[in-house]
Amino acid sequence: MENDEILQNMLLELRRGVLSLAVLSQLSEEQYGYSLLKALSEQGMEIDQSTLYPLLRRLESQGLLQSDWRIVDEARPRRYYVISPQGKAVLAKLKKEWSTMAETMSEMLS
């Protein structure tokens, strides 16, 4: 039981950073929360609504995303998010960092 809890905590921490990167990478075109969730899950990255929405907001408040309430195709108004210029710059650097880290880690763990 104890171990299980520790594992849960570590997974949570591990995912936290990765999720930001995943979200930034999928927002070169604007999406609303739920469509982004679907897009992520189609590519194998499962994420809770209750994690994704606050995350989007936090990234926006950091200036990495921009958002807008909008009505598309006569649907209900939804909040659409898209990456900002600042976000693009950060994403480029993060990507680089990620591939170095992934390489190092896969060598280390093999």
Binding site: E5, Q8, N9, L12, Y32, G33, Y34, Q49, S50, T51, Y53, P54, R57, W69, R76, P77, R78, R79
Partner: protein
């Protein structure tokens, strides 16, 4: 629909006011998207969806990580409302009564009366501020802060834990809390000296209230106040002037008015012994002690009766309004 509103309101209650509306709108849009995909607004689907989202408190915590507050956003507005209301009611009355009573003294001195009224009101205001703040700090402490444990076990939360919807209240939480706090103040103010002298065993301190009233009038008063207190707790819980609540209110107000009028016209409220303990110099300044004491009681009684009548009329008016509008409220909800 109602369940979703209650869920969102409960999340909102734990968010800072600054971006509450915006986050609430976003959560609503998120829930609608989820429902759309799951095929509709069946009660069962709604319950499933909301329980998947989990405890509103921990959802709010993900938007705005909880901080330790003396009085947090969940209580702050109610705190301000309550404080404002109690001060607005008590201070003017207190100042007015003090002013009139000081004017009754010889020689007629307006400056003295004004000074007494403002000085006294200031002190009473500080006391009220302190005690209400203490009450709300305790309420804040009684709310658990959603920690990581809740975050990892969201399944444990069920919609049954949602509090009743607070958005369409007729009687605000602040208003009902004000009444409860006023009841407690009055109870303490009357009971404390009596209890104190009982504890001390004898009448070495002379009480302000006539001991002849203890056997019948005081117990009746206590019963009335406790009934009032229970009624106000229901007011807080129900939040609307339903027929039952209104009826009880009218009965309690009428009962209190009859009690007060009977008390003031047939009994001597202020202990004659107490008047004798006043500073002789002060007594000399009063034109006539007994007239003065009767007057102060009568003025206070008149003000309380006035408030009771207003309260009674107001509750009947609000009950009628509630009766006229229920369909309108429901219709509005369905549109949104």
């Amino acid at each position: 629909m109602n369940l979703i509103d209650r869920y969102i309101a409960e999340v909102g209650r734990h968010l800072p006011e600054k971006n509450r509306t915006d986050i609430e709108a976003e959560i609503r849009s998120m829930v609608e998207d989820m429902l759309e995909e799951r095929g509709g607004h069946d009660e069962k689907v709604i319950v499933e969806t909301l329980e998947e989202l989990g405890d509103p408190k921990s959802l709010a915590a993900k938007y705005a990580p909880p901080k330790r507050y003396l009085i947090g956003p969940g209580w702050y507005e109610v705190y301000l409302q309550t404080l404002q209301r109690v001060l607005y009611i008590v201070l003017p009355i207190f100042a007015a009564v003090t002013f009139i009573l000081t004017l009754a003294k010889e020689p007629l001195d307006f400056v003295d009366a004004l000074g007494n009224a403002f000085g006294g009101a200031f002190e009473v205001g500080l006391q009220i501020f302190f005690w209400i703040t203490v009450v709300f700090i305790l309420l804040e402490r009684s709310d658990e802060v959603p920690g990581e444990a809740i975050e990892r076990h969201p399944q444990k939360w069920t919609v049954a834990q949602l509090p009743e919807f607070a958005g369409k209240r007729q009687i605000s939480v602040g208003e009902a809390m004000t009444d409860i706090i006023m009841d407690l103040f009055v109870l303490l103010w009357v009971v404390m000296p009596v209890v104190q002298s009982w504890l001390q065993g004898d009448l070495d301190n002379v009480l302000f209230i006539n001991p002849e009233l203890w056997n019948v009038w005081l117990p009746v008063f206590l019963v009335l106040m406790v009934l009032n207190l229970i009624h106000d707790v229901f007011k807080l819980k129900i939040g609307k002037w339903t027929p039952a609540l209104t009826a009880t209110n009218v009965i309690l107000c009428l009962g209190s008015i009859i009690y007060i009028v009977a008390l003031v016209t047939t009994q001597q409220v202020i202990n004659p012994e107490f008047l004798r303990t006043l500073d002789p110099e002060q007594i000399a300044r009063l034109r006539d002690v007994s007239t003065w004491s009767v007057w102060s009681v009568n003025i206070t009684a008149a003000i309380i009766v006035g408030i009771l009548i207003w309260d009674m009329v107001n509750s009947i008016r609000m009950a009628r309004k509630l009766n006229e509008q229920p369909e309108l409220v429901v219709a509005n909800k369905n549109v949104s």
